[in-house]
């Protein structure tokens, strides 16, 4: 059976949830092999094994992480030549898509982004994508080269499987092109210790209606009661009320949680682009004509400053917490 390469998303070996999802999808197509770039393989190994990774190609040369995306594309391209995988799967993060883009050009392969499902039928890999804000479901195939597919986090449930996660050392001689964009600094601005936005099962978002940065504590309190991540509209991030990394929408994150709660958000098309495929949508807005109500499963017309704290109380009470 041909191998399927998946690129591990991790922070110093802490494996992101999407990696398990990629391994699960890979197993449908062939034998899952993980590609691990950077430090922390020992930390990551158990998780990769528990999702069925048979081999793990480990590239821990710090040079690979010193430049923007191109080195990883060169590494994957070399692996594609070496092992002729049935497909290469990456997460649909900004970097994941860009690595996929460069790999596609390098290896003469077609690329599909933002897949929400994957199937293999007599050797052909077919990806499902939801386009135009979820209004159309498309099934596409790669017709040339090795299918390179990026998968939207939270689209499928990761299943447990047993793999050996055997370490295979790999390295690559970087070209001048790969080292053209050097990362000289990394600045972390995020403050919250909550679930990560793109991976959370529940997201509570606040918009201009929240009114100020201080008032975001109301949103955070509900999020904590529900065990949710906090999101924000562009109006809220632009005003500096919440860090940009929490922006949901066209230029922010695309989220697809089980439950999305929008408080004080009008539902502009650019915001919808990032949350429209959420399974259940709830909105609290004082304007009954706000476009967000076109999307909701349950909507409340009312003042969020009163409704949200009251809701937080009731959620806590039902959960039996403090």
């Amino acid at each position: 059976m041909a191998e399927v390469l998946i690129l591990v998303e991790h922070a110093d070996g802490e494996v992101k949830k999407v990696t398990g999802e990629l391994l699960t999808l890979a197993a449908r197509v062939g034998e899952p092999s993980a590609v691990f770039v950077g430090d922390g393989f020992d930390t990551a190994r158990a998780t990769l094994a528990a999702h069925g990774a048979v081999k793990v190609y480990v590239a821990d040369d710090p040079e690979l992480s010193a430049y923007l995306v191109a080195p990883v594309a060169e590494l994957l391209s070399a692996l594609v030549t070496e092992v002729s995988p049935a497909a290469v799967l990456l997460a649909s993060s900004a970097a994941g898509k860009e690595i996929a883009a460069r790999l596609a050009v390098k290896s003469g392969s077609g690329v599909l982004t933002d897949a929400t499902d994957l199937s293999a039928d007599s050797g052909t890999v077919t990806a499902e994508q939801q386009v135009f804000g979820g209004s159309t479901v498309v099934r596409s195939a790669v017709t040339r080269g090795t299918p390179v597919v990026t998968v939207r986090p939270n689209s499928v449930a990761a299943v447990q499987a047993t793999g050996a996660a055997e370490r295979v050392e790999v390295s690559v001689e970087l070209t001048a092109t790969a080292t053209a964009a050097r990362i000289t600094d990394r600045v972390v601005e995020d403050r919250a210790e909550r679930p990560e936005l793109s991976e959370a099962a529940i997201v509570v978002s606040g918009g201009r209606g929240v009114g100020s940065g201080e008032n975001f504590t109301v949103i955070e309190a509900l999020a904590d009661a529900l065990g949710a991540a906090v999101g924000a509209s562009r109006a809220a991030t632009d005003a500096g009320w919440y860090p940009h990394q929490h922006q949901v929408g066209q230029t922010g994150k695309t989220v697809s949680p089980q439950l999305y709660v929008a408080a004080g958000i009008s539902g502009a098309i650019q915001h919808r682009a990032g949350m429209q495929t959420s399974k259940t949508i709830v909105a609290i807005n004082k304007d009954p004509d706000a476009p967000i109500f076109e999307l909701v499963d349950f909507g409340v017309v009312g003042d969020l400053h009163q409704v949200v704290p009251a809701l937080t109380e009731k959620v806590r009470a039902r959960k039996g917490g403090p």
């Binding site: 898509k97 860009e98 690595i99 498309v138 050097r182 990394q245 349950f298 959960k319």
Partner: protein, 264 residues
């Protein structure tokens, strides 16, 4: 400093987009075309860089005849000249082919120091063309920039990331894509609109760029749509309004709904 800005014409963000049942490509007839919003930020950034560093700004667009509208809009914001690649053979091109056409078109322009793009098109939503272009041109990829500074041959950006930003540095010629945090695009002035009509627009067919028409368009695409269907429309939900009992009652109804879905 000479700058090329890539602009794409897309269906208006609010219009309903659909695929053509005949060939599974975007039905462009069905929608009002506009310049991809994010590309307006790229045009604006190019004009601001030109104000400090001088040089020429060339607008580059690959798209059907009707995309002339988008080319003119960019020129009326302030570009100096434009290159428009228009050819029926391009219909149905995928991202890999688009990046090939843009790369070849850029190579026809003299002494390019910077290629600016939006970080995402609102119809394809792939965010791959800038990276592909950097790969093809063998230039530094400086993408998702919320800030760009040019100092001699050094180009530095702040790249948005999941938890903050990265400072990324390269040398000209470089490929830069921008996010909407970077600036506030100007509106074309009346004078700008009038003078845009006189600015030179060079059109190319794909063969003029040394590309075999079979390499692009639907037939040359490396991906294909096998089938598509409309997703079942969302069932319209329940909306409750204050019945006089205030927020507490509303919150009670909401928590009951959440409980019915097992979220609490």
């Amino acid at each position: 400093m000479n700058i090329v800005v890539c602009v794409k014409q897309v269906p208006d963000t609010w219009s309903e987009k659909r695929l053509d049942p005949e060939d599974s490509t975007l039905d462009r007839e069905a929608t009002d075309p506009v310049m991809n919003e994010m590309d307006e930020y790229a045009v604006e950034e190019a004009l601001r860089l030109q104000e400090t560093h001088g040089g020429e700004v060339t607008i580059l667009c690959m798209g059907p005849d009707s995309a002339t509208q988008t080319v003119r809009k960019a020129l009326s914001m302030g570009g100096d000249r434009a290159v428009h690649v228009v050819d029926d053979a391009l219909h149905g091109s995928d991202a890999v082919a688009t990046s090939l056409v843009l790369a070849r078109a850029i190579e026809t322009i003299d002494a390019v120091d910077l290629v600016l793009l939006g970080s995402e098109s609102s119809d394809a939503r792939m965010s791959v063309v800038p990276a592909m272009l950097a790969e093809r041109l063998g230039r530094a990829q400086l993408t998702f920039a919320k800030e760009v500074t040019v100092d001699g041959p050094t180009v530095t950006i702040k790249r948005l990331t999941d938890d903050g930003y990265q400072v990324v540095e390269g040398t000209t010629p470089a490929v830069v894509s921008v996010v909407e945090k970077i600036n506030e695009p100007r509106y074309p002035s009346f004078k700008g609109i009038m003078s845009a009509k006189k600015k030179p627009v060079q059109t190319y067919a794909v063969a003029d760029l040394g590309i075999d028409p079979g390499e692009v368009g639907l037939s040359g695409a490396w991906t294909s749509v096998e089938s598509f269907e409309l997703a079942p429309p969302r069932e319209s939900g329940r909306v409750v309004t204050d019945d006089g009992n205030g927020a507490d009652r509303l919150a009670e109804k909401l928590v009951e709904f959440l409980a019915s879905k097992k979220f609490v």
